[in-house]
């Protein structure tokens, strides 16, 4: 399973060249992004025009400009006042509306992301507490050979039942389910996983071959 190591959190660092190269590059990446974000906010909040040029450690150049990098640079170099044509103002108004929309959208996504992260943490907690109680929920690295073989056998059985259940749903189960139960060691428990709440799809035209294409859910 994917396990994310807890990060170190916010640290106070001295304002001097960062000694380690990869730290430096990560810092550059993050801070550059944060810088542009702050610049963008300043433009929106206070209605100002900004250009920022940043040369990366790898000598690539990043730039942010509102309304445009080029126009700000030209304006600065030529000391010309900005053009105020109606066309220009129209473009600006359109841009501002877009930016507003994007900001709303972004906020939405960030909120969702926050919620999903919290959900992930809750799920981790449950898993942790279960692992303390049941040995078979332990990470595989902690299990012995015999336990692993045991567990594997259980999982194979479960997989078969999952396939059966899936077939049941896809094909529908007006008739008794025995025709789908292969005799493969589960015993005579024909009512084992009987679907009492069968979703019978009368109009299903799916073929009998169940396709485990993992594209239906999130996988």
């Amino acid at each position: 399973m994917v396990k994310k190591r807890a990060s170190i959190g916010r640290q106070k660092i001295p304002i001097a060249k960062i000694p380690k190269k990869n730290h430096l590059q990560v810092t550059f990446s993050k801070r550059r992004s944060g810088l542009f974000k702050k610049a963008s906010e300043l433009c929106t909040l206070c209605g100002v025009e900004i250009a920022i040029i940043v040369f990366s450690p790898a000598e690539k150049v990043f730039s942010f400009g509102h309304p445009e990098v080029e126009s700000i640079l030209d304006r600065y170099l030529t000391r010309n006042p900005p053009p105020e044509s109606t066309a220009h103002q129209l473009i600006e108004a359109h841009r501002t509306a877009n930016v507003r929309e994007f900001n709303i959208h972004l906020t939405q996504i960030l909120n969702q992301l926050e919620a999903e992260k919290k959900r992930g943490e809750a799920l981790d907690q449950i898993r942790k507490s279960n692992q303390r109680q049941f040995w078979w929920e332990a990470p595989f690295n902690q299990l012995g050979l015999h336990e692993l073989e045991q567990l594997r056998a259980s999982m194979e059985e479960l997989k078969k039942n999952v396939v059966k259940q899936a077939n049941k749903i896809l094909i529908g189960s007006t008739t008794n389910s025995s025709q789908f139960l292969a005799v493969n060691g589960i015993g005579s428990s024909a009512d084992l996983f009987e679907n009492k709440h069968a979703e019978f799809n009368a109009s299903s035209t799916m073929p009998n071959v169940y396709n485990f294409g993992y594209g239906n859910g999130l996988f």
């Binding site: 550059r32 906010e41 206070c46 920022i52 700000i72 279960n130 749903i169 009492k196």
Partner: protein, 253 residues
């Protein structure tokens, strides 16, 4: 610093807007300066505001000229490749955040279905699951089996070197270990089971059980579907390692 949530829109109140501008401009230039020092790179900023006829620049007019010149000397493609305005910058951030969201959702789904898998292993029925759930559940099971196989393989490779353990029923030698396990087993906390050395457990299970016995346990387990209450009553689980009953079923000498 006050942590009020600011609405990201043009501040209509004139004095408030001016005050915000002063503060944020100062903070912004500080950030530019820090970035420049921390990463030992060249940066510059130009700010046009209604509060000043002249643009405010950082670090200095001379340095700004140099940097602009250096910028303009680069090929057009390199200049524009990483050039953004508000719109494009926001689009980039949206795309990145959407990616992160999707990944987080996928991870959460995997965690969720893993729990369903473990609950199903101890008897909870599959009838509550729709076709999408079953699909994902199958995926998680396959993944787990694959990981188990890898682990088994590596354990077998380790075991290949030392000689195989003595066959059951064993002589007096293993008995002390058995006694230790039983005394552990009589405790009600599961924590102990978990903390025990896998090796010791392994020895016990190797000595005391054979695979068909375990399959029988599992079949009983899978059969008693509706009566299984996952996690609510430890006594109902066949893997009740904490009760002595478990041990009494094994052919101890």
């Amino acid at each position: 610093m006050t942590r009020k949530k600011v609405k990201l829109a043009y501040i209509t109140n004139d004095s408030s807007r001016k005050a915000t501008f002063k503060k944020r401009k100062k903070g912004l230039l500080k950030k530019v300066s820090e970035l420049s020092t921390l990463c030992d790179i060249k940066t510059c900023a130009i700010i046009y505001s209604p509060y000043d006829t002249q643009p405010e620049v950082w670090p200095s007019p001379m340095e700004v000229q140099n940097i602009i010149a250096k910028f303009k000397m680069m090929p057009e493609m390199d200049q524009s490749k990483k050039m953004v305005n508000q719109e494009s910058f926001l689009r980039q951030r949206i795309a990145k955040s959407e990616e992160q969201l999707k990944k987080q959702q996928r991870d959460n789904r995997e965690k969720e279905m893993t729990q369903v898998m473990y609950r199903s292993l101890v008897g909870e029925g599959l009838h509550n699951l729709n076709i999408v759930d079953l699909n994902d559940l199958g995926w998680v099971i396959d993944k787990s089996i694959k990981e188990i196989d890898e682990k088994i393989k590596s354990l077998l490779e380790q075991q290949a070197v030392p000689p195989p353990p003595p066959p059951p029923p064993a002589a007096a030698a293993p008995a002390p270990q058995v006694v230790t396990m039983t005394s552990h087993a009589s405790r009600t906390t599961k924590q102990d089971m978990f903390n025990d050395e896998a090796a010791v457990r392994n020895t016990i299970t190797d000595l005391a059980t054979d695979s068909s016995q375990n399959q029988q346990w599992l079949m009983d387990l899978l059969k008693s579907n509706d009566n299984m209450c996952f996690g609510r009553n430890d006594d109902m689980l066949p893997y009740s390692l904490h009760t002595n009953n478990f041990w009494s079923n094994f052919p101890f000498p």
